[in-house]
């Protein structure tokens, strides 16, 4: 009985633990009413803080190409996971499932960025992901 209680307590505790906020409020920048799904070709990636940006060319049904900027997280985290500048190169085809910016520009957040086959663009480390568990290469 006691273990059941503790289990329930820990389940409820999940809701209030683990800090979950990015450098800034994405809800202030991107519009939940404007979901976008973009398939495009990488033109460049800006490895900058606080958040990295991936630029992609997206071609519509008429063949018109539009460049989009996709906001991601802090590159410091990726570097610790062994991802380098060579991991994302111009010409790569990716799929971005996110939300467009509130100001209507061609910005989106990279809520879920994958290759066309559905694999994640950035995989976590093989360890736990804690910095101490992923010695620098």
């Amino acid at each position: 009985m006691r273990s059941i209680k503790i289990g329930l307590a820990m389940g409820a505790a999940l809701l209030s633990s683990a800090p979950l906020w990015a450098h800034h409020a994405f809800t202030a920048e991107f519009d939940g009413n404007k979901p976008v799904k973009l398939r495009g070709t990488v033109t460049k990636m800006e490895w900058i803080n606080p958040h990295a940006w991936i630029h992609i060319d997206v071609k519509d049904a008429d063949g018109k190409v539009t460049n989009w900027m996709v906001e991601c997280g802090s590159p410091n985290t990726l570097l610790r996971r062994g991802v380098t500048k060579n991991s994302v190169t111009a010409g790569m085809e990716i799929v971005v499932d996110g939300y467009q910016s509130k100001d209507g520009s061609n910005h989106a957040n990279g809520r879920d960025v994958t290759f066309p086959d559905g694999k994640k663009l950035f995989l976590g480390s093989s360890g736990t992901g804690a910095p101490g568990d992923t010695p620098e290469k």
């Binding site: 503790i6 289990g7 329930l8 307590a9 820990m10 389940g11 409820a12 505790a13 999940l14 209030s16 633990s17 683990a18 800090p19 979950l20 906020w21 990015a22 450098h23 800034h24 409020a25 994405f26 809800t27 920048e29 991107f30 939940g32 009413n33 800006e46 900058i48 803080n49 606080p50 958040h51 940006w53 906001e71 991601c72 997280g73 410091n76 985290t77 990726l78 610790r80 991802v83 939300y99 910016s101 509130k102 100001d103 209507g104 520009s105 910005h107 990279g110 809520r111 879920d112 960025v113 994640k120 663009l121 995989l123 976590g124 736990t128 992901g129 804690a130 910095p131 101490g132 620098e136």
Partner: protein, 350 residues
Amino acid sequence: MRSPGFLGGRAPRKLQPSEHPTEGSDSMKLLCALVGILVASMCAGQGLVAKKAWTPPRTADGQPDLQGVWTNATITPLERPADLAGKAFFTPGEAAAYEKRVVENANVDRRRSDISADVGLAYNEAWWDRGTHVVKTLRTSLIVDPADGKLPALTADGERRAAGLAEQRRLHPADGPENRSLAERCILWGTAGPPMMPGPYNDNYQIFQAPGYVAIVVEMIHDVRIIPLDARPHLPSNVRQWLGDSRGHWEGNTLVVETTNFTGKTRFRGASENMRLTERFTRTDPDTILYEYTVKDPATWTKPWTAQVTMAKSNSRVYEYACHEGNYAMTGILTGARAGENNSAKAATK
């Protein structure tokens, strides 16, 4: 208040949250007196766990050596969740189960049905680095005092200031950059300290020591805190700094840092500019610093409170976090707010 007897490792804890071993119960004093100098040295201060205390190495000038890169990433929350009331420590088995469930639950690659929550989670899991373990002490909250693991009640003044700020944010969410948080403005990260708290990523600190000084490089957002050890007085009270004004001294192997002179905009968890912070750094084994801080701010909380975080030695390095360079988001937030106002104005004229 001294740290309870944390000696590292993940063995089940014997201490209870209400215990303050340094104050020494009568029975403890008697025990120490009886078993001679060797054991007494273990009983003194923290010796409720029968394990030989580890002695940290020294720097060339004789300071206990805290140098290196450390991370305080952890999933242990600041306050004890209501459902764990009365339970100050996990057993190792409970901690493992808790860690597994928290990490699975927090994984942001799983999309959320609540649209606002889904937008707020921002980007894929690989970008996050919240840590995957509870603190090494197996505590269920970072707060150790009050014993219930909760922040003390706010004073009337603390409540009034919090309500005033909330109202300001409601009326002026994004008129200009000054309305946004210090973190969004790349000025100060809310958990980077002092006091230093675990955050969602980049929880990395590098400690340097030189004769008369300790310096702490904080990855988020780019600060270096320089702490003189020469007992000089604090800055005059009219000089206010984002990180406050720190002075350090050694008490045995523990670095004690007193910080005052915060700005009225720093507001650590709603604190006033007169917050007085006492931090204690104790290296308890080669790979661990027990970091404890006490917040005294009678203008904000009805009593002082104390939290503990274990910091683990990291094989990584501290990277530059040149926040202003790439802060396109501030532009996006402000132009988004203007677009919203224009849309509202158009809707009103129809």
